[in-house]
């Protein structure tokens, strides 16, 4: 009786086995890659806001300090979004007729608050506290990037748990002197590890990798 399969079927079978493994690997890799992709994490995507507010202009060109608007960043878990009155403290004097600012004036007139779209959105089971990070030598730009160069704010970090843990496991890589917290242009010095370790001691910074640090 003639063989049912041609000899080349052996090769095909081997190839199929290899391919299955490869494809599975690819699929898993693909899913993992997708999960970390900008499409899923929203990194680098600016979101449409009610007003085209430019951090580049305000924080960069005009040099307004971060805490002028994000006033509770040193005291509270929430950094704070400025009330309409803070905007109007300048814009009742300058650009008073700008059509771009009409939503702000409308809010001021009617008492209806502005609704900003949250860019840095953590899941509801994660509890992040700005004040402790700022007090322990983590600067704005470490997580938020060069906001002073962004016409519209976008995420520069995934805010995924592995990204958080990256710093929580080795804070010495990212810690900076407290007087440079709001320095957007701060770059780690060549001897960052050495400086970082010293600052960790000075600021009593712990490596907090317990679940309860963020999950409650």
């Amino acid at each position: 009786m003639a063989q049912v399969f041609h000899r080349s079927a052996n090769t095909l079978a081997r190839l199929t086995l290899v391919l299955i493994v490869l494809l599975l690997g690819l699929a898993i890799g693909g899913i993992m890659g997708l999960d970390r992709s900008d499409y899923v994490t929203d990194v680098s995507f600016a979101k449409a806001q009610p007003i085209q507010f430019s951090h580049q202009h305000h924080a960069g060109a005009l040099g307004i300090q971060c805490v002028y608007c994000h006033s509770t960043v040193e005291t509270s878990s929430f950094a704070g979004i400025p009330p309409t009155h803070t905007c109007m403290s300048c814009h009742s004097q300058i650009w008073i007729d700008s059509p771009m600012l009409e939503p702000v004036r409308a809010s001021y007139r009617t008492g209806e608050p502005l609704q900003w779209v949250r860019v840095h959105d953590l899941p509801e089971f994660v509890f992040f506290n700005h004040s402790i990070h700022v007090n322990k030598g983590i600067g704005c730009s470490t997580c938020h990037g060069r906001v002073d160069q962004m016409p519209q704010v976008f995420k520069v970090a995934t805010l995924q748990m592995e990204w958080c843990l990256n710093c929580h496991r080795q804070p010495e890589m990212y810690i900076r002197p407290r007087d440079r917290i709001y320095d957007m242009a701060w770059q780690p010095p060549p001897n960052q590890l050495e400086v970082g370790r010293k600052l960790m001691q000075e600021y009593k910074v712990l490596r907090l990798v317990n679940c309860y640090t963020c999950h409650r």
């Binding site: 959105d121 679940c211 409650r216």
Partner: protein
């Protein structure tokens, strides 16, 4: 010996003929037990086959789920589909979230940080001062105000649950006229019309609860001055015998304050002073101060309680005598005659009660000026009067019992206010009736037929929080503002006044009683703020009023306003007036009691309180007829049997609950259930005991007939959801035993030697914080405050009656109730049980996804986002404190409940395990603040929610590495023990064994 399964099979065959519970066998088992035997339920001792089967079944009531005839293929198809769909849910992106900043940020508000405001909760008998946590303008959590004498920083369950009342979606939301939505403006128009044709006020009647607000009392007075012919009635559905009793004894209705901390011997004549009397928080604190583990054990006090239905006061007693309510008076009289107080004799008293009275009299006599006799609010005025006379004779007046003026000296005096009002209504004299914050159609005694009388009133105006039974019969209904939305004021039970300030503007169109009364004045649309402030401005009179006002709001107390003490003396004709009432009639007695959770029905729509197990019976969501085991046996009824209660010609159907500790031949019925209107939670729960109540004997009476009518009503009781299998979980002894041998509990201290703690896991050095807890069983009074505080703090979901029946309640903290000894009148012990935060937690190694694991401060962490719901951890937990979200229990839909939630705690979803976290959100908050200031967390800086709520400071939390911390010292106390320490779990919670102080002369024959 047959296996349990065989026994079950046999029992199923014989079930039809055999009664389920053989009480004689239970008695025999208890009698043959050597030493102390603790038990939780009758079924547990009897080891009934049903109970064993229930225990054996890991997932009760699971069986019927598998009985349907789905084929294997169906199952596979469903499972495949479920798997695919479950995977899909992970593929969503987070929906966009908005940040909504203020337009003008209020001063002092820091988004993300709560603010705290002092206010007070008005409740019968006076206000309890509170400090309320507010997150960006929404109140989320209530704590006691440490400066307020009625709170001392602590609360009861009712205060803890008040936030849910505020956000209750069933609250009345609009002014109604003839059932249609109207407006406050239109109501004011109607009020103006009424004002114009009021004349001298003829025909205008008011019905309210006893007033505790000085401003409201002044408003009432002003109204009476303007319209002298109006009539005002005040009633309390539960009872108001204390004032009449004082009048009987002293000739004037004085206010009484007890100083239990000074008393060596206390006799409670049916008085629940630990749980529900006005001032019970400071009373409990004072009473417990002589008993707690840290106290001087040689100065322990002694508590005798005489009562028909078990209360937490009776459960904490050293000697509790279960007698019919009508026999209490006889005991009081016997005691009085022993002590030489002329109060008539007590003929026909049973010899054992006579003996009890003799022994107690001797004990009281030996502690003159350092004892207290206190009468309960459900006892007749005569008992109160005799108690007063005894206190006077023993020299307690001014020492342990303080007398003073009453809050409302001008209060209308009428022992039967509702009966008088009903008569007036029936006579057609009432033209207009204001019902201010009351619900008499539901809670008036049945014989008055209040609803029928009410319909004879041409104009009926109801002011209430819900569209309840009374609102349905009134033309006008005005929603009542919750106290967290109101400007008002109130005095505490000792007279201390405080301002009630709102935490939030009225969510609906709620109005306060002040605004209701103002509608009849020349200035009808005044705000409550104006009214209250101008009253206090006039009363203060000084130029620095603004400053004082700010101070009062800040402190939550107005200094130096407590009642001035008063010396009183028993009136000369007391003996003649305190005539003996007829000797107790034979037969079955009915006893009406407010429900320990929903009270007179006002909290019936509060699901937190509905799901809180009642302290003694551990029932939820229902009321039952409580019968003693012997009486139930005599009547041939068992748990959950439906019976017909026939009392003075009225009939109610109710389920039976056999309650060890209930007096024989006495049936307790609990008020507050059987609501016909008032919200989705209360409607349909329980039966209406008011339907049996009569105005002449509102608290107890004879002539009850109980007849089994067949059928059952399942009652959701949490006490048997687990069994103790005879292990030593509660430890107790007498004080004398302990004083004789201070090493009594040494064998139960945690083992430290290496062989005894052998483990394969490496030791972990806890170098930083080492969180631990100590729970003093001497101090726990089982009041449930901690349970509700935990629910409020940790966003714990309500599951409802059917789920509780399946053992799926979600409470992270429960209070286990243990009985010991005698079946008919056992000793009762309470034990708060929560996650023990074991250092060697058995739950952790079995989790396949590492969703529960240990942190370096010794906490067993539960990570919701990792949990896949295998429930292995719960299976492996020896304390049974893990709770699983079998269904989506958290309400994610109802908009009004969203602001209720604590923003610092995750709201759990379906399929997730949860458990006590030692209030990790509070720990983290304190640690972050401390680290910002580069210091360590001080002892006492972190209080868990249960600790902060506990009226008696029974719970202590802190750092065990801090040798000066209170929790560390308690862990070294001679009474300390850990539960199930023999398993090597090394719990971080230590309990202090309970010591009671029985009188040797009364020791039971055991």
């Amino acid at each position: 010996m047959n296996s349990p399964l065989v026994q079950i099979a046999e029992s199923v065959r014989g079930a039809a003929s055999r009664p389920k519970l053989d009480l004689e066998a239970v008695r025999a088992k208890l009698a043959e037990a050597r030493g102390k035997r603790f038990w939780r339920s009758l079924e547990e001792i009897a080891e009934t086959p049903e109970f064993l089967a229930w225990l054996d079944d890991e997932f009760p009531s699971r069986a019927q789920d598998f009985r349907n005839a789905a084929s294997r293929r169906d199952v596979l198809r469903l499972m495949g589909g479920a798997l695919a769909l479950a995977g899909l849910t992970g593929c969503t992106k987070q929906p966009p979230e908005y940040i909504v900043p203020y337009v003008r940020q209020p001063e002092d508000v820091i988004p993300g940080k709560p603010l705290y405001f002092a206010t007070a909760m008005p409740f019968r008998g006076g206000a309890v001062g509170l400090v309320v946590e507010s997150h960006e303008g929404r109140p989320t959590k209530i704590e006691g105000n440490p400066q307020h004498p009625a709170s001392l920083g602590r609360t009861l369950a009712w205060q803890q649950a008040a936030t849910l009342d505020l956000y209750d979606p069933d609250r009345s939301q609009a002014v109604l006229f003839r059932g249609r939505i109207s407006s406050w403006g239109k109501f004011l128009g109607a009020a103006a019309e009424l004002r114009e044709r009021a004349g001298s006020g003829e025909g205008i009647y008011f019905l309210s609860e006893p007033l505790h607000s000085p401003t409201l009392i002044a408003q009432r007075q002003a109204l009476v001055n303007r319209l002298p012919a109006i009539r005002w009635f005040e009633y309390d559905a539960v009872g108001q015998e204390a004032a009449a009793g004082a009048r009987l004894a002293f000739g004037e209705p004085v206010n009484t304050v007890y100083l239990f901390e000074r008393a060596d011997v206390i006799l409670s004549l049916d008085a629940d002073f630990l749980g529900s009397m006005a001032g019970s928080i400071p009373y409990a604190r004072g009473f417990i101060s002589r008993r707690r583990a840290e106290a001087d054990r040689s100065r322990i006090n002694r508590l005798y309680v005489v009562e028909p239905a078990p209360t937490i006061t009776g459960d904490k007693a050293d000697h509790r005598l279960a007698v019919k309510a009508s026999e209490v008076e006889g005991i009081a009289r016997a005691l009085a005659s022993q002590l030489g107080v002329p109060a008539g004799g007590a003929p026909g008293l049973r010899p054992e009660l006579e003996h009890f009275a003799r022994v107690v009299a001797k004990d009281l006599q030996a502690h003159r000026s350092a004892c207290v006799v206190v009468a309960g609010e459900q006892q007749p005025a005569t008992v109160h009067a005799i108690a007063h006379a005894i206190n006077q004779a023993l020299g307690n007046g001014g020492a342990t019992v303080l007398y003073s003026e009453r809050a409302d000296a001008a209060a209308p005096v009428d022992p039967q206010p509702l009966r008088t009002l009903a008569a007036e209504m029936n006579a057609g004299r009432v033209r207009t009736l204001f019902l201010l914050g009351v619900n008499p159609v539901y809670n008036a005694p049945a014989d008055l037929q209040f609803a029928r009388a009410l319909e004879k009133v041409p104009l009926r105006i109801h002011h209430g929080s819900h569209q309840d039974e009374t609102a349905a019969l009134c033309q006008w209904h005005v929603p009542e503002a919750h106290f967290l939305e109101s400007w008002s004021d109130a005095v505490a039970w000792d007279g201390t006044a405080c301002i009630i300030q709102p935490l939030i503007a009225p969510i609906y169109e709620g109005k306060t009683a002040h605004e209701m009364l103002a509608s009849l004045t020349d200035n009808p649309d005044q705000s409550a703020y104006r009214i209250v402030k101008s009253y206090w401005q006039a009363r203060h009179g000084g130029p620095d009023f603004e400053q004082a006002w700010q101070q009062w709001l800040h402190d939550g107390v107005i200094a130096n306003t407590s009642f001035r003490p008063k010396t009183v003396s028993v009136r000369a004709d007391f003996a003649a007036r305190a005539q003996a009432s007829p000797a107790p009639a034979q037969g079955l007695e009915i006893v009406f009691r407010p429900d320990p959770c929903v009270w007179d029905g006002r909290f019936a729509n509060n699901a937190w309180l509905q799901e809180t197990p009642k302290p003694h019976t551990k029932l939820t969501w229902d009321n039952a007829v409580c019968l003693s085991p012997a009486t139930a046996q005599r009547l041939g009824v068992e748990n959950e049997d439906m019976v017909e209660l026939r009392y003075r010609g009225r009939v109610v159907h109710a389920p039976v609950w056999t309650t060890p500790g209930q007096a024989n031949d006495s049936a307790s019925v609990f008020l507050g259930y059987g609501r016909r209107r008032g919200g989705r939670v209360c409607e349909g729960a329980g039966y209406d005991a008011y339907a049996l109540r009569t105005s002449d004997q509102p608290h107890f009476g004879h002539g009850l007939e109980i007849r089994k009518i067949g059928g059952r009503r399942r009652l959701a009781c949490t006490q048997d959801h687990s069994s103790i299998e005879g292990r030593e979980i509660v430890l107790a002894a007498t004080n004398a035993e302990f004083l004789a041998n201070r090493r009594l509990f040494e064998h139960k201290h945690e083992k430290t030697s290496e062989e005894e703690t052998l483990t394969i896991y490496p030791e972990w050095p806890y170098t930083g914080y080492k969180w631990g807890m100590a729970i003093d069983l001497n101090a726990c009074i089982g009041c449930n405050s901690c349970v509700v505080a935990c629910v409020a703090e940790n966003n714990i979901a309500v599951v409802g009656k059917t789920q509780v029946l399946r053992g799926r309640e979600m409470h992270w903290l429960r209070i286990d109730r243990y009985f010991e000894g005698d079946l008919d009148n056992p000793r009762t012990y309470f034990q708060p049980m929560l996650c023990q935060q074991c250092e060697r937690a058995p739950c952790e190694p079995v989790c396949p996804v590492a969703a529960t694991l240990h942190n370096d401060e010794g906490l067993s962490q539960m990570v919701y986002n990792r949990c896949v719901g295998t429930r292995y951890c719960s299976n492996n937990c020896p304390y049974k404190v893990r709770r699983f979200n079998f269904l989506l229990y958290s309400d994610w839909e109802t908009a009004s409940l969203e602001p209720l939630r604590n923003p610092d705690v995750t709201v759990r979803s379906r399929g997730v395990m949860e458990k006590c976290s030692f209030c990790i959100q509070r720990i983290q908050e304190a640690k972050i603040e401390a680290e910002k200031q580069e210091r360590v967390v001080h002892d006492g800086e972190i209080q868990t929610a249960c600790q902060q709520a506990c009226p008696t400071e029974a719970i202590m939390f802190g750092d065990l590495n801090d040798r000066s911390s209170r929790v560390y010292r308690l862990h070294q106390n001679e009474l300390n023990y850990s539960v199930l320490t023999e398993l090597g779990t090394r719990p971080r919670i230590k309990y202090m064994a309970e010591l009671r102080n029985p009188n040797p002369e009364l020791e039971r024959r055991s």
